[in-house]
């Protein structure tokens, strides 16, 4: 079946809408009805052996057993997951901000490499050592990156901070003495809206001297 055929099967209503939009902005638009939702999305997702599974995830050195759907992202497990004992995973340090791998708020380490938890399926996290921001400090002893973030006030609202902390730790694990350009590159996958960047750069420089 070609793309066109396939699409015709499911999207006639939407297409007829868009045709009616016309090219001029103020064209008198005569549009038939359109459907905003109405896709049979929920149907296909049950009863298939592999569409849900009980998996084990190693997060911050602790094994969590949890039932997930195939589509469940690692970020969903961390933030909203409930394990098979009925306990909330409740690791809300990784934030859901863009949900599309564009902002870095959900950065975690998978086998020591920074990745976006919103773009990783929970099933794919099996067998990896997952470290979230909650696992960066050694008990009450903060990581030098965390100490330096506090010292330099490398946060305002703080919503992006966990992602920046994790990315900074990953950067310094790879490169002990990064230049400013290397810091910018290493943190280029993280976004801050308050504009804390200059103090974040200072913090990473300070932390690099302590590692």
């Amino acid at each position: 079946m070609s793309d066109k055929e396939k699409k015709q099967g499911t999207e006639i209503s939407r297409r007829s809408f868009i045709k009616g939009v016309g090219t001029g902005t103020v064209a008198a638009t005569v549009v038939p009805t359109i459907l905003v939702g109405d896709q049979n999305t929920a149907e296909a997702q049950t009863d298939e052996a592999t569409s849900t599974a009980v998996i084990q995830l190693n997060i911050n050195g602790k094994v969590h057993e949890i039932e997930v759907e195939s589509r469940t992202t690692l970020l969903t497990v961390l933030r909203d997951g409930i394990d098979t004992n009925g306990n909330n995973v409740d690791l809300t340090g990784a934030k859901l901000i863009c949900d599309k791998g564009e902002c870095g708020g959900c950065t975690i380490l998978a086998d020591d490499k920074p990745v976006y938890a919103c773009m990783m399926l929970a099933m794919d996290a099996q067998g990896k050592q997952i470290t979230t921001v909650e696992g960066i400090a050694d008990g009450d002893d903060l990581h030098p990156v965390q100490e330096a973030f506090i010292k330099h006030d490398a946060m305002m609202c703080g919503f992006c901070t966990p992602g920046f902390v994790v990315s900074s730790v990953a950067l310094l694990n790879e490169n002990k003495k990064p230049t400013l350009e290397e810091i910018k590159d290493g943190l280029s996958g993280n976004t801050c809206r308050c504009g804390t960047y200059p103090f974040i750069f200072d913090a990473v420089e300070t932390a690099s001297e302590k590692m």
């Binding site: 902005t25 006030d153 280029s188 801050c192 308050c194």
Partner: protein, 705 residues
């Protein structure tokens, strides 16, 4: 008269102090509204219109209701209603998981009949455009302001500049999207975690909406992930969360998606200005004639400043609002100012050039602010103003550098309406409580600094509670750069009162009159005989079973409004790629008494970076064909990232010992400074933001031709 004392006597105030919430924020322990997990909590989502304008023909919730895991589905519009912008609410779902809620939204059956729409200002103003609200031609009545004699002014002018300046709609992009968690206890008591800038504003709104006594609504905002002016009320999403929670008897979390955040959670309106202005041969701005408009969406205005900062005797301005089928504007960091400043600072440079005058000198001649006059000198020195191209665009090579300057003005003097309490317990612990909220500016830490300074303690000794309506100590919303100047006087007077009470308890022990007692560092001593001293704990031990708990009061003399700012920019323009890189920004920011110099510098950095984004990257892109916002994400709506960050020299220009707010003003002068620097680098002026490579390359090509 109350005073903050001399700088030399301040141990903490005005110093660089790390924030109290630092550890929680770097370890991920800080709980934002988005992070609240309540037992049995449901996840809610809102189905929104994806079209700009349509009538609702049919709406059937049944298929969604039947999906296992769905607990409630409600209509947010009705058949027959008109939806007037993309993102407008149609229905909402609460379900056991967020994924089920998403699935359920897609099962709701909606039929819409699309109606003619306008999503850009040009289309709204075009002849024959469909009228989308009760304004003739989609235009509001103009707001006209006349001063002096414009005609005479132009006659006196030696040079005249006519230009059109434009800034597009910018969105707030709060990283924590708008949203709430609602939890009812029976039908009488609502606990509401809100990502808000106004804890008490939200409480009062909910009490009205749900017909509850105000003391039966508790709003909690321990931490919140950015508001920038867009988060003052509970909004449709807040009311919806509370409704769904009441219906289901379960806690309900409803956070906006990133897409919805762009579409419906507010924006900075656009601005278009047609300006004609004249200056005398000796460099006096003498006449200013402006017609301008902007769009704030379907139902809101689009105010902006102009003329701005600089004095002009003769002026006429005419402003109107344009309605478009788009989400409404909300206050955004210094509403109206950055866009007005961009136009004005560009205009000033254009006039100066026609006069053959250094643009900084031209500003000096027309700026009545003594503070800014001093800032011009300091900033020019810091940036190396002498390095600018005397002839714009005269630099050689592919990458050309240039310098520019811009200015701004803000109020930020705070106001009445805050109540606070400082408590000293017998074990020596100290609590400070008020109903403000820390939206990232660090007011929690500022409170601790003030109390610790007053009591001779360390900021970390003070336990500060903000962001909770339960203690019943109201404070205003965090807007207008008012938070610290509103809260600081009340906290200080409360701490003073608590200290006095403690002195009364300690005086017998030290065998000295109360007014002879002073606080040291962790001690209380007798001023006339410093050998007589007790430790803080010994002193508070005198309280026995009691605690001291004192309120404060508003004190005009401890705060002051009106802050001036100036920024200088150095940019490098790659003339082959059109890319503008900002090398350095010098931001000289008047801020009154900086309670915490470190947090103040943070605020200045942040303002500069948001201004930089508005100048070089940000734009809500509306498609006239489909009526859609094409960049309702963080891929194509571009906010500054690490590579965009210049060296920023934040100069805290503390001119007096009274508290002023500084959240908004630093984002104002950046636009003009960068735009003027780009002109100085390449000799072509770009009058429309953002200054992206397409515009730079097109402008350079036109210059060549």
């Amino acid at each position: 008269m109350a005073s903050w004392g001399e700088a030399s006597q301040s141990r903490l105030i005005g110093k660089r102090i790390t924030r109290l919430s630092g550890k929680d924020k770097v370890t991920g322990k800080a709980k934002y509204t988005y992070d609240i997990n309540r037992p049995g909590m449901l996840y809610a989502r809102i189905l929104r219109s994806e079209v700009a304008r349509a009538e609702v023909i049919a709406l059937d919730l049944t298929p969604a209701e039947e999906l296992p895991g769905v607990k409630a589905v409600i209509e947010l519009t009705q058949v027959g209603n008109q939806l007037r912008y993309q993102g407008q609410e149609i229905a909402a779902v609460a379900a056991e998981t967020d994924d089920i809620a998403k699935d359920a939204l897609r099962l709701i059956h909606v039929e819409l009949e699309e109606l003619p729409f306008v999503v850009t200002e040009d289309d709204a103003l075009a002849e024959g455009a469909p009228e989308i609200r009760d304004w003739t031609g989609n235009k509001s009545d103009p707001n006209v302001d006349e001063r002096g004699d414009l005609e005479a002014g132009f006659e006196e002018a030696a040079v005249i500049v006519e230009a059109k300046y434009h800034t597009p709609v910018q969105t707030h992009v709060c990283l924590e999207t708008h949203g709430n968690v609602a939890e009812w206890r029976g039908e009488e008591y609502l606990t509401f975690w809100a990502s808000t800038q106004a804890v008490f504003g939200v409480r009062n709104d909910l009490a009205r909406t749900f017909d509850l006594p105000a003391n039966q609504v508790r709003v909690i905002t321990e931490h919140m992930g950015g508001g920038f002016g867009s988060k003052f009320g509970p909004g449709v999403e807040g009311h919806t969360a509370a409704r769904l929670s009441k219906m289901t008897g379960k806690p309900v979390k409803l956070m906006l998606t990133r897409r919805a955040e762009h579409l419906v959670a507010g924006n900075r309106p656009s601005m278009t200005q047609h300006v004609k202005a004249g200056a005398t041969s000796d460099g006096r701005l003498i006449a200013y004639d402006m017609q301008g408009y902007g769009t704030g969406g379907i139902g809101s205005g689009a105010g902006f400043t102009g003329p701005y900062v600089y004095s002009v005797e003769n002026s006429r301005t005419e402003r109107f609002n344009v309605a478009t089928n788009a989400g409404n504007q909300r206050a955004m960091r210094a509403p109206g100012h950055p866009q007005g400043a961009f136009a004005m600072d560009s205009l000033m440079d254009e006039l100066a050039e026609k006069l053959g005058m250094n643009p900084l000198e031209f500003r000096r001649l027309n700026d009545s602010s003594e503070v800014r006059q001093a800032q011009y000198t300091l900033g020019a020195q810091e940036i190396g103003w002498h390095k600018r191209n005397t002839v714009p665009g005269s630099g050689t090579g592919i990458k050309k550098r240039g310098l520019g300057v811009g200015s701004g003005q803000w109020g930020g003097g705070g106001g009445r309406g805050t109540q606070a309490r400082v408590t000293i317990n017998a074990d020596g612990t100290v609590e400070a409580v008020t109903g403000t909220q820390d939206i990232g500016t660090g007011v929690r830490t500022a409170i601790a600094i003030i109390v610790a300074e007053e009591l001779g303690l360390q900021p970390t000794d003070i336990s500060v509670t903000v962001g909770d309506s339960e203690p019943g100590l109201p404070s205003g919303g965090s807007g207008g750069s008012q938070t610290t100047p509103s809260v600081a006087p009340v906290i200080k007077t409360a701490a003073e009162a608590a200290k006095q009470k403690l002195f009364e308890h300690v005086a017998p022990l030290l065998q000295a009159p109360v007014d002879d007692l002073r606080v040291g560092i962790g001690t209380i001593y007798v001023a006339s005989d410093r050998t007589k001293t007790v430790t803080w704990k010994q002193a508070t031990g005198q309280l026995g079973m009691e605690s001291i708990s004192e309120g404060g009061n508003w004190d005009e003399d401890l705060r002051q409004g009106g802050v001036a700012g100036t920024q200088f920019a150095e940019v490098e323009v790659d003339t082959q790629t059109g890319h503008v890189g900002v090398i350095k920004i010098v931001a000289v920011q008047d801020c009154g008494l900086a309670i915490n110099r470190l947090a103040t510098e943070s605020q200045i950095n942040g303002g500069v970076i948001m201004g930089l984004g508005q100048t070089l990257l940000e734009e809500r892109i509306m498609d006239p064909q489909t009526g859609r916002m094409l960049n309702a994400n963080l891929e194509d709506y571009k906010v500054p990232g690490t590579y965009e960050i210049p060296e920023i020299k934040a100069i805290v220009f503390d001119t007096h010992r009274k508290v002023s707010g500084v959240g908004e003003p630093p984002c104002i002068p950046t636009l003009g400074a960068i735009a003027n620097a780009v002109y100085n680098a390449i000799g072509v002026r770009i009058r429309e933001l953002p200054i992206t490579p397409d515009k730079v390359l097109t402008a350079l090509a036109e210059k060549k031709a």
